[in-house]
Every structure is written in C-alpha cells, then in structure tokens.
C-alpha cells in the first residue's frame, strides 16, 4: 500500500492544472470546464512525455527477441505490471493481467471462470447499480448455461439493501459481480463487507473498479476480492489499456480467453500447452505503449497521493452537492451517504440532453444520457440524467460555472 499523508492542502490545484495541457483549451470560445471524468479523464504531460519517450526511444515487440529494443520494451512493460501490483497492493505481479479495459477484464472472467464453473440452475448475483459491462456478459453466460441472475435492490438514495443482498444467497449461488463505485450515481458500495459475506458462502467475487481506481486507495489483500477490473483511461492513462487483477489460484484454474501467440508454452497440431499466468491471458501483442503509459499515470497519481485525491474530490463533491441542491427545480439522483465525486441530476421540465447542449455552449462538458446503466435509470423512473463527475484537477470555481449554467438552462426553458 502506498504510504501517504492525508492532507487536502497537498492538492495545489493551480499547479496540478498546469500539468494537463488540455485544460487550457477553449470550447465554444470559453475556457473548458471538464466535468466528464467518470467517462474518461485527461492526461498529464508526464504521461504524454512517457508515451513519446517510449515511441521514440524504446519501442519494439516484447517477449520475443534478443535485441536491445525488445529487451528494453519487455523490461518497461513488466515494470508497468509491478507498478499496477503496488498500486493495488496485490501479492504477486503474476496476478496482474493487462486487458483492453474494464469491459474486456469482466468478459475474461465470464469466459475463463464463468463458463467452466457456472452451470444450469446456478445463480449469479449482481447489483441494481451495475454498468452494462457488468450485466451483459453475465446475461450472456446465463443464457448459454441456463443460469439465473439475481439482482440486489437499492434504496431511493441509491444504496444497496444489504439485508436483501444477504437473503439472496443459497446453495446455488456461484458468483457475485459487483461495482465498487456506481458510475451513474457515485454510490460507494461496502464491498469489503460484501466480499466477506460472499466468501462465508464460498462464493467468489468480481469487483468492477472502473470508477473506484482513479479516486481512492486500493488494497486487494485487504478487500480480499477474487477479481478486480479497471480501466487506464479513467485514471489519467490512455484508452486501450485496463487491468484484471485475479487471485493466482483462480487465474491458474481459468481457461484462457483468447488463443494465440505469447499465451502458449508449446504448440503442435495435436496439442497446445498454455503458458503460465499472466501470459496465459495476454494472447498476441499487447498494448505495450498503453501499459507503460498506465504505469506513468500511476506514478503521477501516487505522486499526488490517492488519499489526498480522495479527500480533495470529496470536498468538491460536498460543495457541488450543496450548491446544486439549493437550486429550485433540481433533483440530485443518488444521495448515498458514501459517494465518489459524481453528481447525477435532473432539472424539472428539461431533458438532460438539452441541459448538456446548453452547458456545452459555455464550455462545460458533462455527460447526459443513461450512462450505460439503464436499469439504474428505470429504478429512478428517468430516461436519462445529467451527470457532472469531478477529478482532482477541478475547482470550486468550475462548480460555480456549472451552477450558473443550470440557472441559464432554467431561464431558457422557463
């Protein structure tokens, strides 16, 4: 675990903002106010520089040749893996598999674990807060195997109902797939306790950490989850790279997701022997540059300190919640006691898409729509929401601009 001092003063937001070239952009003739961080975050110069350095000084294919560049690229790729290992406080670097993103990581578990160990009549527990990426793969598996999906309901605040969660377990329960933090509402689920409960019933747990990894300290050994998935591009890294963490003993039991080069020890036309983990799950040439850039993004974030980031973002969320909830005719959707810096809201009488278009005209980028979480929208009887999601490079002044933008929308639609 990264040893950090908890100190919101440690966030010098002016200095941090100057690390991100894109934050200097003008949109619609106004300074960009980027509040769509839950969809994708921006990249600091240090990560951009790392990409340029790799492509100009280090690039080759990895795990292949004996020449200088191949050895260098291989070394840097594996260094990135150990950076992820330390970021997650995983026991072993072999437990870190590079994927294209969270979605691929979840699909890898569905194919590699689910198809072998979940059968007809077995039950998979999901929560009502899930992103489509943690619903659809399990639905596909359930259809293929004749398994059943059970859904943990939530309160009007967007908190999972823990007694009902516990009541879902029975002898047929074979898997729990759960978001650590909800992308649509920001709810932080009590995952440590939920993992412990599932384990009491011998049920392995996958956590979708796409919205948690960029915003808080993570410790796999403390959480004790069996699988953890997240994406690089939501934490200052590039797109096309993500991580599946899995406990070694489970990864070793799992079937590979794709066949190809690098995931084999030997191939004949009669039989192929698979490689050991993590190579078994990294068929073909991986996104080498993106993995190394993710390592640089982790260095950057840990340089600021994940606990500092969490504390500062919480301060932003509290400020935004107070200011936005004070506006008449605005409803905040998702009011859990523990939330990440996500503010989903609706303005009475105005469709979120119109809100997004009008805010965009003032340079304010928010996300509008169902956030790939249609069951969450159905639960709250809305077709869509407007969602502002904050990062450690956002400021209270930007939240003031959001509030002014909401007033402008209301005036226009009055």
């Amino acid at each position: 675990m990264n040893v950090e001092r908890l100190n919101t003063e440690a966030i010098n937001v002016d200095r941090i903002r100057s690390d991100f070239p894109i934050l200097g952009l003008q949109v619609s003739g106004k300074p960009l106010v980027y509040l769509d961080n839950a969809a994708s975050s921006q990249m600091p110069q240090a990560v951009i520089d790392r990409i340029v350095h790799y492509q100009t000084q280090e690039h080759s294919n990895i795990h292949r040749a004996v020449h200088y560049l191949s050895e260098l690229a291989t070394k840097e790729f594996e260094v990135a893996r150990t950076k992820v290992q330390h970021f997650l406080n995983a026991k072993d670097a072999r437990e870190i598999i590079f994927t294209r993103g969270t979605t691929e990581a979840i699909n890898m578990v569905m194919h590699g674990y689910g198809r072998s160990f979940i059968g007809k009549g077995d039950e998979i527990i999901l929560s009502g807060l899930e992103h489509h990426a943690n619903i659809v793969p399990w639905q596909m598996l359930a259809e293929e195997k004749g398994a059943v999906l059970r859904v943990i309901p939530m309160s009007d605040a967007g908190e999972l109902l823990i007694d009902q969660f516990e009541a879902l377990f029975n002898k047929r329960t074979k898997f729990l797939a759960l978001s650590h933090v909800s992308n649509a509402l920001g709810t932080i689920n009590p995952v440590k306790e939920m993992v412990a409960f599932a384990h009491k019933h011998g049920v392995p747990v996958l956590l979708d950490g796409a919205q948690a990894a960029p915003h808080q300290v993570l410790d796999m050994q403390e959480l004790d989850c069996d699988f953890y998935a997240f994406s690089g591009h939501k934490m200052c890294g590039p797109t096309g790279i993500g991580v599946l963490y899995g406990k070694a003993r489970l990864l070793e039991k799992m079937q590979p997701y794709q066949g190809g080069g690098d995931m084999i020890l030997s191939v004949t036309f009669e039989k192929t022997t698979y490689n050991v983990i993590p190579a078994k799950f990294e068929a073909g040439t991986p996104p080498i540059m993106a993995a190394i850039a993710l390592g640089a993004a982790i260095d950057y974030l840990c340089g600021i300190g994940m606990a500092n980031i969490a504390a500062y973002e919480h301060e932003l969320l509290e400020y935004a919640t107070e200011r936005v909830s004070a506006i008449g005719g605005v409803r905040i959707i998702g009011t859990a006691a523990k939330k990440a810096a996500v503010l989903s809201f609706e303005i009475k009488g105005v469709h979120p898409h119109d809100v997004g278009t009008i805010l965009n005209n003032d340079g304010i980028a928010i996300r509008t729509g169902h956030h790939c979480a249609q069951p969450v929208m159905q639960r709250f009887h809305v077709p869509a929401t407007a969602r502002a999601s904050f990062s450690f490079y956002n400021t209270k002044q930007e939240i003031d601009k959001l509030v002014a933008g909401i007033h402008k929308v209301q005036e226009m639609f009055a």
Partner: protein, 163 residues
C-alpha cells in the same frame, strides 16, 4: 453555434412546452414507434391514411426539446398532405439536419421547419431532430419499430456512448 437561441428558438421551446397533435388516433391505420437509445427519446406515431392522404396524425412519447418540437411541427406540416409530399419533406428534413441541404440556398418545402437547421452543427443532436421523421417514414412503410441506431443510423459512427 455562438448563441444557443439560434437552436432553442422560441418556436421550438413553445412546441416543446405545448406539443401539437399530442396523443393517439383512435382506429388509426398506420403506426410506428421510434426510439433513440442515446438519450431515451421515444416517439409513438399514429396516423390515418386514406386514399393516399394523411387525414389524421398524432404522436406521444418522451424526449428532449428538439425531438418533441420536431415531432410536434412535423405533425402540423404533414397533416392533409399526400404520402409522396410527406416523403419529400422527410427527405428534405433529413438532408437539412445532416447538413447536405442548405434551406436558404436550395429549393425546398420546409417552410417553418427551417428552425431546425442549426442542429447540423451539433452532431449529437441530429438524431433527436430526425427521430420523428424517421418514425413517420417507417409508419408510411408499415415498419412498426425503428431506431436511430444500427442500420438505420443517419450518421454512422455516432452510436450509443459508453460510460
């Protein structure tokens, strides 16, 4: 677009607040439903077409202001028109919204519908404006369900977003 009022003109806001021909036609002989999964716009259209003429038309559903105003003004524009005339409007509206027809320099029949010309600068909103027209086209061809996605996507490459 420098001023949002170019898109959100009073006429659009007014049709959004008070949509015309809102509801459904009893005993209609043409129906279609249009859906834009991107923002949840959903339009149900019912019509009576007699002797090749749109005698009655109504819509219901939920959507953003652009979609609702477009549906409302569409019903007004095609009521009483021959099917072929309505199809010409569908084509012209679609071309205007996607930027291939400049209503000020090309001959057209759009009239008041020109207020939607501004959506061409907002690719994510083009589908909102087109959805009712797309649904009308489907109703005239007795296709019951349409979507702005997949094969029917008016602007390929802008399908449903991620997180």
């Amino acid at each position: 677009m420098s001023d949002m009022r170019q898109l959100y003109q009073e006429v659009i806001l007014d049709h959004n607040r008070k949509p015309r021909n809102f509801g459904s036609i009893l005993g209609a002989n043409r129906h279609a439903e249009g859906h834009n999964p991107l923002c949840g716009d959903h339009i149900k259209l019912s019509m009576n077409v007699l002797e090749n003429k749109i005698e009655a038309i109504a819509f219901e559903g939920d959507g953003c202001a652009i979609c609702k105003a477009s549906a409302s003004m569409m019903t007004g524009a095609v009521k009483g028109k021959a099917v072929e005339e309505a199809e010409v409007l569908v084509e012209e509206f679609r071309s205007m919204a996607t930027g291939t027809l400049d209503p000020d320099s090309h001959v057209n029949h759009l009239g008041k519908l020109k207020v939607f010309a501004g959506v061409k600068d907002l690719p994510s909103r083009v589908k909102c404006a087109i959805l009712p027209w797309h649904t009308l086209h489907a109703a005239l061809h007795s296709e019951f369900l349409v979507s702005t996605e997949g094969e029917a996507d008016p602007i390929p490459g802008t399908a449903i977003g991620g997180q």
